[in-house]
């Protein structure tokens, strides 16, 4: 029997190891950014850097001489803050209410379709959002701006909000649907209406999942670059109105990284550092808010809110708002997708999809990029899903509630989710690319994005694991099964919905990201990759490359179409596989036991 104890110990060690990887990843990335920023910060001066309101770098500045440029990021810190708050307001509220709508006020076919569409949104690249913002939204809102240019906080918040919506919806929905039905029935039995039961019992019970989704959403908003660059205006001034040109920290990095001199480069890394600190602070604050539940102030606030809720018949309003949010969100999704289809479908050609690459030719083929994208999705999922699920298992099944280790890992995970994708790209370039001989490769890109996927996988799986009733675990243990067996045979199968959700979100992320791949995999369309060490472009990067100089805009839109179709296909596949797995495990199929048995009985 010592073998099984050894197995249990080994299992625990493996799970703990995967959780530790997250901590290691954060520490390494943090160290990487720190090392590249310290020389500059010490040259410029920490406070001058943080609170200086002029950003006018000189790419010829060197460390050994006096600085000709100015390096103050205050305007961009403010810009980022405002944009994030705005994005959270739009995306958080829309996402929250849409999740409630999907979980409780929506049925059958509509629910399925809506769900698929929301997941699809997660796969749309930032560049497309940017173009949609310019072509469709700017004319719409231009009249509100003094110079007819709708660039600014309003537009950025709106588009960023829509971009983070799928993340918020997916995670919140999983949590909401995992709340035990008995809460709902209990409320109804007390005379509550459907809406009241939803808002007063179900939603509060899902609080941890909803908060987790909001944190992930903030992370995404903080780190977003491409769309912001196209819609914010990028002036290095503090935004004093909703339609004034402003710049975020991430936009700053992307705009200047390509040509920065040594001091400027260090300043850009320091900008990345500021972002990391931001997300650490936000996590800390969120944690405080959660634990503030029992203080006196909180109690008074609760009473006041409670009285207010009763006066406005909150639940009815809530239901209406959910409907409105879902409709608004739905309209937006449909608009973007329709826009892409209209602009791109006419330009999809056989050559575009399956042609052979020819240097200098005017005809474009994205066949190599399609292949590269699939290769990347496969490898990154193979790495990130098991790692993430294992880490989540460790966090949820092996550690005691107040354990310092879990808070550390959780914080690490949250911080990882806030690292801007461009920082991941630079990190990947400095590590994985060098590891494989100094040239870009699909493998380097896959490894880079695997790290990016971890937070989402971990959070989603964790929420799912939490929702598995302890009664199952107790039942299994009481039958003499060890912890490992309990986890693999009872807990994980029940947590399948959350894991599938994580897979879907991950697929969307891989397909839609560009910055992590630009610095690790390559940026020019080229020939078919011959293996994982070839350099290539994913579809999103190809899209970006095609759209830059205005020579291949049609092909760019066509690529966007292809991209959406691929995301849709992969999502549907994941859902299908998930359903099959669940059916098999929960035994809702009548299989041949019956007949076998009848034979035996005779």
């Amino acid at each position: 029997m010592n073998r099984s104890r050894a197995k249990e110990k080994a299992g625990k060690a493996v799970f703990a190891g995967t959780a530790a990887i997250c901590i290691i990843a954060v520490v390494v990335i943090f160290a990487f950014i720190l090392i590249r920023s310290i020389p500059t910060i010490s040259k410029i001066g920490f406070f001058d850097f943080l609170f200086g309101s002029t950003w006018a770098p000189d790419r010829n500045d060197v460390f050994t001489e006096a600085l000709a440029g100015q390096y103050g990021v205050l305007t961009m810190i403010v810009g980022t803050l405002f944009a994030t708050v705005g994005a959270l307001a739009v995306g958080g509220i829309l996402g929250y209410f849409t999740a409630v709508y999907l979980a409780f006020f929506c049925k059958g076919k509509i629910k399925k379709v809506f769900n698929t569409v929301v997941n699809l949104l997660a796969g749309i690249p930032s560049v497309i959002y940017g173009f949609f913002g310019i072509k469709a939204l700017m004319p719409l809102f231009g009249w509100m701006s003094p110079n007819g240019n709708a660039s600014g906080l309003f537009l950025v918040s709106l588009v960023l909000g829509i971009m983070i919506m799928p993340t918020v919806v997916a995670l919140s929905k999983t949590s909401l649907e995992a709340v035990p039905r008995s809460y709902y029935e209990g409320a109804l039995a007390l005379g509550a209406t459907h809406e009241q039961a939803v808002f007063k019992t179900m939603v509060p019970a899902a609080k941890s999942g909803i908060t987790a989704s909001l944190i992930l959403g903030i992370g995404r908003a903080l780190g977003e670059t491409m769309a912001v660059v196209m819609l914010a205006g990028n002036a290095t001034e503090i935004p004093t109105g909703l339609f004034q040109s402003f710049r975020t920290l991430t936009a700053n990095i992307v705009l200047e990284m390509g040509y920065a001199g040594e001091v400027q480069m260090g300043a850009l890394f320091a900008t990345g550092l500021v972002l990391l600190i931001f997300i650490a602070i936000i996590n800390f604050l969120m944690g405080l808010v959660r634990s503030d539940k029992n203080s006196d102030k909180a109690k008074i606030k609760k009473e006041w809110l409670g009285a207010l809720k009763n006066k406005i018949n909150f639940s009815k309003v809530g239901k209406v708002v959910s409907w409105i949010a879902a409709i608004f969100g739905g309209l937006f999704l449909v608009a973007i997708i329709v826009y892409i289809l209209i602009m791109g479908l006419p330009h999809i050609s056989w050559n575009l999809l399956f042609g052979e690459f020819e240097l200098g030719s005017d005809s474009v083929t994205i066949f190599p990029s399609i292949v590269a994208t699939f290769m990347t999705v496969v490898v990154s999922l193979i790495i990130a899903i098991p790692l993430g699920v294992a880490a989540a298992i460790f966090l949820n099944e092996y550690t005691k509630k107040g354990n310092k280790l879990i808070t550390m890992v959780r914080s690490a995970v949250d911080i990882l989710s806030g690292v801007p994708s461009i920082v991941y790209g630079l990190f990947g370039a400095a590590t994985f690319v060098l590891l494989f001989g100094g040239s870009s490769s699909i493998l380097a890109g896959s490894l880079t994005i695997s790290i990016m996927l971890l937070p989402t996988v971990i959070r989603s799986t964790e929420e799912s694991l939490k929702s598995v009733p302890d009664a199952f675990r107790e039942g299994s243990l009481a039958l003499g099964a060890g912890k490992l067996r309990t986890i693999f045979k009872v807990v994980l199968p029940s947590a399948m919905p959350g894991i599938i959700s994580a897979v879907i979100l991950s697929i969307g992320r891989v397909v839609s990201e560009s910055a992590p791949f630009m610095y690790t995999m390559g940026t020019s369309l080229g020939a078919m990759p011959t293996g994982y060490l070839s350099s290539s472009t994913t579809l999103a990067v190809a899209l970006y490359a095609l759209s830059r100089e205005n020579f291949h805009t049609n092909e760019a839109y066509a690529t966007a179409c292809v991209l959406i179709i691929i995301v849709l296909a992969l999502n549907l596949l994941a859902e299908f596989v998930g359903k099959k797995l669940q059916k098999k495990l929960s035994g809702d199929s009548s299989n041949g036991i019956r007949t076998k048995h009848k034979r035996k009985a005779r």
Partner: protein
């Protein structure tokens, strides 16, 4: 290691953090009889029950001192918790069938202990369901999800599931408190059948149930074992005043 069928507790104390939940408990549970633990809520009877299969190990901050022996084996000295639980089965207050088919629920235990052959599993499933008097009800829906059964059926399924691994002792923590009288009756009948093969310890706060089925009864109050003896004696002429006050309904 062979596990016996009697339980011996000597000077056992249990703390949940600072809370002293069990105070110097000593008792002998005889083999192949039904022993009932009765007492008001919070008196420690379920806690003591969970000591017998070390389910209290799962609770944070739980400290246990004293001796717990099953047959000759001191269960807190032995490291093999899984073997212990194979021999000491448990049925919970709220039925907790796994979200799997009926067949897979019952086969879960045997599969854990290495039985893989389909024919053997089929046999075990049939035997367990017959032992739990459910075979006729369920033989045609073995492949269907267990969650579709009624509350009473689910609980009897859980009992069948525990029986599938041939425990020497069966612990039942208020197994019928959530069930209707008919299901309760069926389970009580089941207990009477099962005691021919195994020792049963049942926690209940239904005194009539205790009088109906148990041979021995222990009365607990606030963590103390007030009185332990033959059921007839406890209910007709209790030695302690507190026992008498409880069974006559003066409190609890």
């Amino acid at each position: 290691m062979e596990y016996g069928q009697n339980i011996s507790v000597k000077h056992a104390d249990l703390y949940y953090g600072d809370f002293h939940a069990l105070k110097d408990i000593s008792l002998e549970i005889p083999s192949k009889l039904i022993t009932a633990f009765i007492g008001p809520s919070g008196c420690g009877k379920s806690t003591l029950l969970k000591c017998f299969n070390r389910m209290n190990d799962l609770v944070e901050g739980c400290k246990i001192t004293g001796e717990f022996k099953i047959g000759d084996i001191d269960i807190y000295q032995s490291a093999d918790v899984n073997a212990l639980r194979k021999n000491v089965g448990m049925v919970f207050q709220k039925p907790n069938p796994f979200p799997m088919s009926v067949y897979d629920n019952i086969a879960y235990g045997p599969r854990t202990f290495g039985i893989k052959k389909r024919s053997e599993l089929d046999e075990i499933v049939e035997r367990s369901l017959k032992q739990a008097a459910m075979w006729d009800e369920l033989k045609d829906r073995l492949g269907k999800s267990a969650l579709g059964l009624s509350g009473g059926q689910q609980q009897r399924l859980c009992i069948a599931r525990s029986l599938a691994i041939n425990p020497k002792i069966l612990l039942m923590d208020e197994p019928t408190s959530a069930l209707d009288p008919i299901s309760t009756g069926k389970i009580e009948e089941l207990c009477n059948e099962l005691k021919h093969d195994m020792t049963i310890v049942i926690v209940t706060h239904n005194m009539q149930q205790a009088t109906r089925i148990s041979d021995k009864t222990g009365f607990f109050l606030l963590g103390d074992l007030i009185e332990f003896g033959d059921t007839d004696q406890i209910f007709s002429s209790p030695k302690e005043e507190q026992t008498e006050r409880y069974i006559t309904g003066r409190f609890g």
